[in-house]
Amino acid sequence: MSNDSLGIIKTQYFTFAEPPDILQLKSGRSVGPVTLAYETYGTLNEKKSNAILVCHALSGDAHAAGFHKGDKTAGWWDDMIGPDKALDTNLYFVVCSNVIGGCKGSTGPSSINPETGKPYAIDFPLITIEDMVDAQKTLIDFFGIAKLLCVIGGSMGGMQALQWASKYPERIVTAIPIATALKHSPQQIAFNEVIRQTIMADPAWRKGYYYEHGQPEKGLAVARMIGHITFMSDQSMEEKFSRKLKNDNLSFQFIDDFEVEGYLRYRGYNFVKRFDANSYLYITKAMDYFDLSGENFMPSVKKTNIRFLIISFKSDWLYPSHQSQDIVRLLKKKHAYTTYFDLISTWGHDAFLIEIEDETRLIKNFLANNSIT
């Protein structure tokens, strides 16, 4: 473990919305009690003015940095969070929580429904990005943090950052939405629908009530394979796999001859071990419902003082740069002083997890020039 690592980190749990004060959801339904799994890195200062909320993407979780005991791999954004890193834990108190609807310790479809003593499964209410943010706000309230220095996230994490700015503008000073959009385009909804149908077409899905029998492994694995194709770029796939074969010759059978096939299968089947199929349905749906375009964005605000840093990546075709430029356009209408950077990368949508050097330089400098006074 290098000396810029946070070392061993333990996930913590915060439970709220105990009946009868259960959490009201955008769908009109409600849920409670709600547990959020979260981790924190660094120290909250006395004025509680150094807090940064990190929001995770579709398959992410609260474990953004450091190592869980016994684990060999670090949290999903460990390259960005830690001493002297972009989110410098010598300076900032960093919080990351698993979204509601997730399956990594926060309440979601795989959680036990207190009314039945069984997993909610498909009886769990549909959730939205706004519901995720509302739940996070309860956690931030619990910490006694009046104002977050920053809300940051990539992909669906960026949607949450935008939702925070829109719904709780008085609670944040800066927002850094990365590789994200104000709303899902038909292309993005289409990919998500194919992904959902792939899961639901697996007989093992059992209309959502599979928990006693095990995951719809085949459906979920293929769903994730589709996802991985959209996270990469034509160029990054060429560089990584080209037409390289796993063995030296073609088998003339329907097996994974090419390295790219092996990679997707490996990713797909590993995903089954770590992610709940129903959570994948719920969270992709939440992303599809997300729409902060036009009048939906910051409806109560004519001029905003929130400083935004918008980042996109040139090779990202899943969340293309023009979607980030749409955010910039909307911010101009709100008279916002904004920084937008279209970073060079060949990594496609995955870039926000990989282009650490450029992101670090940008985010570090941006944060260094913003503070709560």
Partner: protein, 202 residues
């Protein structure tokens, strides 16, 4: 500090909202933010310049100048700066019109192609002029148009754009006489309409 930056810094009022199109490494904006408490927004295309701007604590949008203006509401800024950029942009006419919509005042600075040494170079040696304000060979220049002070003032008259202030810059100080012959650079402050023109009516 460069002479044109000094002039612009003098023009900008305390606490003004400023948009700088093609802000480069943000030297001017950083000065305005620090010395004039200006609220500043830059637009720049170059990656490295962008990084330096962010390092300086500036808010800067990556993009081209032509598309950078359209989404701002009318009169969003006290000043829109178009310094040393007029000669590089394709849709100059559109950018000036949009700047006048977005800004209460527009500051335009550009190299004067009619400077005497430029004229003599062209006349006597038959070569494209190269000087402090026009430092590039033909094959490397970013400039796609060459304009003179006279060209620009004629344009403003034709478009009924008011020239509120005019500054003519020599190598180290301002030029007071025969600007179109003796000035290397010019800085104009423009407003919409045609009152109070320092050039009078034609």
């Amino acid at each position: 500090m460069k002479l044109d930056h000094q002039i612009i810094a003098r023009i900008i009022t305390e606490g003004a909202h400023v948009l700088d199109l093609g802000c480069g490494n943000g030297e001017l904006l950083a000065f305005l933010a620090k010395e004039k408490n200006a609220l500043v927004q830059g637009i720049e295309l170059n990656d490295e310049q962008m990084h330096i701007c962010v390092e300086r604590g500036l808010t800067v949008l990556q993009g081209d100048i032509e598309s950078g203006l359209v989404d701002y509401p009318d009169q969003s800024f006290d000043y829109v700066i178009l310094n040393q950029i007029m000669q590089e942009i394709k849709a100059a006419d559109f950018v000036i019109a949009e700047s006048l919509r977005v800004g209460k005042r527009v500051i335009v600075g550009f190299p004067n192609f009619a400077h005497i040494r430029a004229r003599l170079t062209l006349l006597l040696s038959g070569k494209t002029p190269i000087n402090e304000a026009l430092p590039y060979y033909w094959f490397e220049t970013p400039n796609i148009r060459f304009l003179t002070i006279r060209d620009f003032t004629d344009y403003c008259h034709k478009k009924s754009i008011n020239i509120e202030q005019a500054y003519y810059l020599g190598r180290a100080k301002q030029v007071r006489i025969l600007p179109n012959l003796l000035a290397l650079n010019a800085v104009f402050v423009l407003t919409k309409g045609s009152t109070q023109s320092v050039w009078g009516k034609k």
